[in-house]
């Protein structure tokens, strides 16, 4: 399973290296969202600073939709889905590989957004450790849930519009918990933040476990 996961994530990273879609499209989109939020709230800089955690994770969420959609369009184009089913790759390995690939892309986006909120919003990092582990756990949860719903939507005709409808309600807990953890991290109130981090870790664990077992039937049926 791990061999197959490494093979799939390696292929996805190579695809990104060749196509530069995350670099040239998803990252600029994420920064654009941040800038537009700044334009909307600029008259009151205090509100902008207070809303930084929520705006950061909203930008991540929108970017995640693009990254997930891209990741699964690749797998349903020109017979690749059939090729995957015939490949002998372990479906659980495919799931882990796809989720890991999406997670790497999202972490890169989050890094850029982190620099963005520091520059544009004047955000001050109080508890860097909490912020980093929050990013890791939230990204794992988004990538796992995204991979599950991504493969489900990829086989459907209306996938472009269906994925946000399916995924956004499911990942609402990630948005809430990551925002709360970031708020605690920015305020240096880490104790409260670690509880939210725990919720994110559980979410990631649950969706990774579901994905390992459910990816095969989802790939078969969708």
């Amino acid at each position: 399973m791990l061999h197959d996961a490494l093979l799939v994530v390696g292929k996805d990273l190579r695809l990104e290296w060749r196509s530069r879609v995350t670099t040239n499209q998803v990252m600029p989109f994420a920064v654009l969202v941040l800038v537009l939020f700044a334009f909307a709230l600029d008259p009151d800089r205090r509100i902008l600073q207070e809303a930084t955690p929520g705006l950061f994770w909203m930008a991540v969420l929108f970017s995640a939709l693009l990254a997930i959609q891209r990741a699964f369009v690749l797998e349903s184009h020109d017979g690749v889905r059939d090729a995957l089913r015939l490949s002998g790759l372990d479906p659980a390995g495919i799931f882990l590989g796809k989720a890991a690939g999406i997670a790497v892309h999202l972490l890169a986006v989050e890094l850029v957004l982190g620099v963005g909120v520091t520059l544009f919003y004047g955000a001050h990092v109080g508890g860097p450790l909490l912020l980093i582990v929050t990013c890791l756990a939230a990204t794992a949860g988004l990538a796992a849930a995204g991979s599950l719903y991504g493969v489900l939507a990829a086989g459907l005709r209306l996938r472009e519009t269906l994925l946000p409808l399916l995924l956004l309600p499911v990942v609402a807990p990630v948005l809430i918990a990551a925002t709360q953890a970031f708020q605690a991290g920015f305020r240096q109130a880490s104790g409260e933040g670690w509880r939210w981090f725990g919720l994110l870790a559980i979410f990631a664990l649950i969706y990774t476990s579901i994905g390992i077992f459910a990816f095969d039937p989802l790939m078969e049926e969708s």
Binding site: L7, R18, L74, D78, G79, V80, D82, A83, L86, G88
Partner: protein
């Protein structure tokens, strides 16, 4: 010897439409069997059922000893399917694609290179993204993946489509080499003359069933039987000469 493909009354649905409506078919090891029939007859579905991609909902179906009704997944890594789609990643190069699918199939690293050499993709084309290839070159790249994976059963849907004369000769040679190396080939083609020349046996598919009568084909193609029952495969006398003509190893057929 157990047939590679053994169907009895096999029924498959595409949605609610019975794309296969009770197919009886046997294919013996080492045979090259041509499926012939009009568009929509069920040839593609039959190939996809053999690959374990489409479920059999009634009757019995065994491929390479795997009961497709009970669980069709185990047969998938053992077959190679060349369909209408390429099954390749557009943004990856030809070499990236062939290596990835070969590694996914747990074949040796050298097999991917040997397959690209066999298909004439080892030079300049190896580093070209698939999106920039012509239809014929894509077809060759898909074939390279198949050759590298060394399937036991080759399932080819219109394999000559989009290929030039040299490519068509090459695929005929690949089929002969595959059989010489112990594989079995089941293919659908509208290229009547070329396909019947290479096939050991022709099976007519009409309206989702295998037509066992097939008088026209049998009459037109001496030595070809029309029934769905197995017959010992004809030897592949030109496999060795094809091998020599290619001037290299027989790459990746098992």
């Amino acid at each position: 010897m157990e047939p590679v493909v053994h169907f009895r009354g096999a029924v498959s649905l595409l949605g609610r439409f019975p794309a296969l409506a009770g197919v009886d078919l046997d294919v013996a090891p080492g045979e090259i069997v041509l499926l012939q029939g009009p568009n929509g007859a069920g040839k593609t579905t039959l190939l996809r059922v053999c690959a374990g991609l489409v479920a059999v909902v009634a009757g019995s179906a065994r491929v390479l000893g795997v009961d497709l009704v009970a669980d069709r997944r185990p047969v998938r890594p053992r077959v190679g399917l060349l369909g209408h789609d390429s099954g390749l990643y557009d943004d990856l190069t030809v070499a990236d694609n062939v290596r990835f699918w070969a590694r996914a199939g747990k074949t040796a690293a050298g097999d991917a290179h040997a397959a690209m050499v066999r298909l004439g993709l080892d030079g300049r084309l190896a580093d070209v993204p698939v999106a920039r290839l012509s239809a014929g070159q894509r077809r060759r790249a898909s074939l390279a993946v198949m050759v590298a994976r060394r399937p036991e059963l080759w399932l080819l849907d219109e394999p000559h489509a989009a290929l030039d004369q040299e490519g068509r000769d090459l695929i005929d040679g690949l089929m002969r080499d595959a059989v010489a190396a112990g594989a079995t080939v089941l293919f659908a083609s509208h290229e009547q003359d070329r396909a019947t020349a290479i096939a050991h046996r022709v099976v007519a598919v009409t309206g989702g069933t295998v037509d066992a009568k097939l008088p026209a084909v049998e009459a037109a193609t001496p030595g070809v039987t029309a029934s769905g029952t197995p017959r010992p495969p004809a030897p592949a006398p030109d496999a060795a000469s094809e091998h020599r003509r290619q001037g290299g190893e027989v790459a990746g057929v098992a």
